[in-house]
C-alpha cells in the first residue's frame, strides 16, 4: 500500500514537471518578448539588454527554466510585467472568488447530480421516463457555458427576477455581496457538472445493480431503498469520486468563460486578460496553478479510491 502511494505521488510529480516544461516552452514560443511588453516598440538595444539582464533573459533557455522552477519551489511566482506587482499577491486576491464559485457549484453538483443519477438508474430506467431523463442529461452536457451564460444574462437583465447581473465586487469587499453576485455564475457552471455527475452516477449504479449480491438481496426480499442504501451506494464511491475530482479541478481553473462573461475577477479572467496583455509571467503562473490543481486533486481522489477499495492499490490495472 505504501509503495503504491509512493508510486502515485512520484508519477504525479513527473506529470507536474512535464506540465511546467510545457508551459515554459509555450510561453517562450509566444510572439513578442518580455522586452517588447515592458519597453514598447521604440526602445533601443541597450535598454532591451538592461531589461533582459534584470529578468535573467540573457541566460541560456534551460538555465532560465531551472531558475523559474527554483523560484516556484520557494513560492515565488515572479512579478507581473504590466503592474510590476508580485504575482503571488495578485493571485491571493483573486483565488477566494474562484474558490467560492467552485465551492458553490460543487455543492449544487453534489446535492443534485448524485441523487439524480441514483434515482434515474433505479426508478426511470425504462419507458418514456428513461428517454426523457437521457434527453435531459444530454442537453445538460450539450449547453456550452458561453451560450447558457449569455442567455442567463439576457433573461436576468431583461426581466427583474430578484438577482442582479453585474455590479460585481472583488474578493476584498465582503463575502455576502460576493456570494449573491456568484449565484448565477455558479448555477451556469453547475449545469454541465450536474448532468455529467448524474450520467456517471447512473452508469455506476446500473453496473452495481447487475451484480450477484444485488440478485441475492432481491431474493431475500429486501426493499429497493434498503438495497440502494446498503448495497448500491457503498459500491459506486470510486467512479463518482473520480468524476467529482475532475469537477473540482475543472471548477478551480476552467471557469475561464463564465468568469469573463460575468466579470468575475477570479483566476480564469486573470489568465485571459493576462494573455491579451501579453503578461507572460502571469500567464505562466495561472496556467501552472490550474494544471497543478488538476494533478493534485486527481492524486487525492486516486489515493482516496485506494483507501475506499484496497483492490485499486494492489492490482495495477485497477487504476484507470
Amino acid at each position: 500500500m505504501l509503495r503504491w502511494i509512493a508510486g502515485r505521488v512520484v508519477s504525479a510529480a513527473v506529470t507536474l514537471l512535464g506540465i511546467s516544461l510545457l508551459i515554459f516552452v509555450a510561453v517562450r514560443l509566444m510572439p513578442g518578448g518580455y522586452e517588447d511588453v515592458i519597453l514598447g516598440p521604440l526602445a533601443g538595444p541597450e535598454q532591451r539588454a538592461a531589461v533582459a539582464a534584470r529578468f535573467g533573459l540573457d541566460q541560456p533557455v534551460f538555465v532560465q527554466f531551472f531558475l523559474w522552477l527554483g523560484a516556484l519551489v520557494r513560492g515565488d511566482l515572479g512579478i507581473s510585467m504590466v503592474t510590476q506587482a508580485p504575482i503571488v499577491d495578485e493571485l491571493a486576491l483573486r483565488l477566494p472568488l474562484t474558490t467560492l464559485l467552485a465551492a458553490m457549484s460543487l455543492t449544487v453538483t453534489l446535492l443534485v447530480g448524485v441523487p439524480l443519477g441514483v434515482l434515474t438508474a433505479v426508478r426511470g430506467g425504462g419507458g418514456r421516463g428513461g428517454a426523457a431523463g437521457r434527453l435531459l442529461s444530454a442537453i445538460g452536457i450539450s449547453l456550452p457555458e458561453f451560450v447558457l451564460g449569455s442567455v442567463v444574462i439576457y433573461v436576468f437583465s431583461r426581466y427583474a427576477l430578484g438577482l442582479r447581473i453585474g455590479g460585481f465586487a472583488t474578493g476584498a469587499s465582503g463575502s455576502g455581496a460576493a456570494f449573491q453576485a456568484l449565484i448565477l455564475p455558479a448555477l451556469v457552471l453547475s449545469v454541465f457538472s450536474v448532468a455529467a455527475t448524474a450520467r456517471t452516477t447512473r452508469d455506476a449504479v446500473l453496473g452495481v445493480l447487475v451484480e450477484p449480491h444485488i440478485a441475492a438481496a432481491i431474493g431475500r426480499g429486501e426493499s429497493p431503498w434498503h438495497i440502494v442504501r446498503h448495497h448500491v451506494l457503498r459500491n459506486i464511491g470510486i467512479p463518482v469520486l473520480t468524476l467529482l475530482g475532475s469537477v473540482v479541478a475543472y471548477l478551480l481553473g476552467g471557469a475561464v468563460i463564465v468568469e469573463s462573461l460575468f466579470n468575475i475577477s477570479g483566476l480564469g479572467s486573470y489568465m485571459v486578460s493576462a494573455l491579451g496583455r501579453r503578461d507572460f509571467g502571469v500567464v505562466q503562473a495561472t496556467v501552472l496553478f490550474t494544471a497543478a490543481a488538476f494533478v493534485v486533486v486527481s492524486l487525492l481522489t486516486e489515493l482516496a479510491s485506494g483507501l475506499l477499495d484496497p483492490r485499486v492499490a494492489t492490482t495495477r490495472k485497477g487504476v484507470r
Binding site: 433505479v122 456550452p144 449569455s150 445493480l209 444485488i214 494573455l275 494544471a291
Partner: protein, 286 residues
C-alpha cells in the same frame, strides 16, 4: 417500478432509443446539409453582403433578421455552421488517426512505451480544454488552423487513453496470442485483429470528441481566439450577438440554438453508438 423489473427491461435497452437517435441524426443532417449547400450555392445570399437595414428583426425577407452591419443573419449562420462543422470534423479526423495509431501501439506493446504515452496524455489532460485552446491560440496566432490544432490537442489525450485501454484488453485475448505464436508480424496483428476489435471504441470516442471539438471551437471564437472576421463561426456569431442582446436578441439566440442542436444531436448519437457498439455487462444480465 422495482429493481427486478428494471433489470429485466434493461435487456432491450439498445432498441428503446431509436426514436431519439433518428431525430438527432435528422437534425444534424439538416444542419450539415444546409450549411454545405449554402457553401456551394449561396441560396440564402452572400454572408458578407450588406443587404438591408441594420438590426432588423426576423421577417419574410430576412428569415433570421439582419445583424449590426445589415447582413443577412441566415446567410451568416449557415456560413458559421459550415465553418464550425468543417473545423471540428477536420480536427477530430486528425485526432482519430493520431489517437488510434498511438493508442493501438501503446496498448498492444505495453511496458515503457505505454507508460510514456500515458504520461504525455496526462500532461495534456491536466489543462482545462479552454485554457489549452487559448494557449495554442496565443502561440500560433488566432485563426482556422489554430482552432484545428487546439481541438486536436484537447481531444487527443482522452481518446488515446480510451483506445489504449481497449487495445490492451484486445491484446490479451487468445486470438492475438495465437497470431503471435504463429509468427504473424506485429503490424498485421495490429491491423487485422486489434483494429477491427476496437472499431466500436473509435466510433464512440470519435463522436464524443466531435461534440467536444464544436464546444472548444465555440469557446475559442467566443473569447476572440477562433476564426477572425469577416469569416464567421457559430461561436463568433454568438459572441457578436451578445453585444446586441438588449435590442436584437435574435442575433444571440439563433446561432446559439443551432450550436446547441448540433452538439446535442452529436451527443445523443454518441450515446446510442455506445450502447450498440460497446455493450456492457450492465445490459446483458437480467
Amino acid at each position: 417500478m422495482t429493481l427486478v423489473s428494471f433489470a429485466r427491461r434493461s435487456r432491450v435497452a439498445p432498441r428503446r432509443r431509436d426514436g431519439l437517435f433518428t431525430v438527432a441524426a435528422g437534425v444534424l443532417a439538416v444542419i450539415a446539409a444546409t450549411a454545405a449547400i449554402a457553401a456551394v450555392v449561396p441560396f440564402a445570399g452572400d454572408p458578407d453582403a450588406i443587404v438591408g437595414p441594420r438590426l432588423s428583426p426576423p421577417s419574410a425577407r430576412w428569415p433570421f433578421g439582419t445583424d449590426a452591419l445589415g447582413r443577412s443573419l441566415l446567410a451568416r449562420v449557415l456560413e458559421g455552421a459550415g465553418t464550425t462543422l468543417l473545423v471540428s470534423i477536420a480536427a477530430v479526423t486528425a485526432t482519430a488517426v493520431v489517437s488510434t495509431l498511438l493508442g493501438m501501439v501503446a496498448g498492444y506493446c505495453g511496458g515503457p512505451l505505454r507508460e510514456a504515452v500515458t504520461r504525455l496524455g496526462d500532461v495534456l489532460y491536466a489543462f482545462p480544454s479552454i485554457v489549452l485552446a487559448v494557449l495554442v491560440a496565443a502561440v500560433v496566432g488566432p485563426g482556422l488552423a489554430c482552432a484545428v490544432a487546439a481541438i486536436v490537442l484537447v481531444t487527443v489525450p482522452l481518446m488515446t487513453r480510451m483506445i489504449t485501454a481497449a487495445a490492451a484488453s484486445v491484446a490479451e485475448r487468445d486470438f492475438v496470442t495465437t497470431a503471435k505464436i504463429s509468427a504473424v508480424p506485429a503490424p498485421v496483428i495490429l491491423g487485422r485483429h486489434v483494429l477491427s476489435n476496437i472499431g466500436g471504441t473509435i466510433a464512440v470516442q470519435g463522436t464524443y470528441a466531435l461534440s467536444v471539438g464544436i464546444l472548444v471551437e465555440g469557446g475559442m471564437s467566443f473569447l476572440g481566439y477562433g476564426v477572425q472576421p469577416p469569416q464567421s463561426s457559430l461561436g463568433s456569431l454568438i459572441q457578436q450577438g451578445g453585444a446586441y442582446m438588449a435590442h436584437a436578441p435574435w442575433l444571440l439566440f439563433t446561432p446559439a440554438l443551432v450550436l446547441v442542436l448540433a452538439i446535442l444531436s452529436i451527443n445523443l448519437i454518441g450515446d446510442t453508438l455506445r450502447d450498440r457498439l460497446e455493450p456492457r455487462e450492465t445490459r446483458s444480465l437480467g
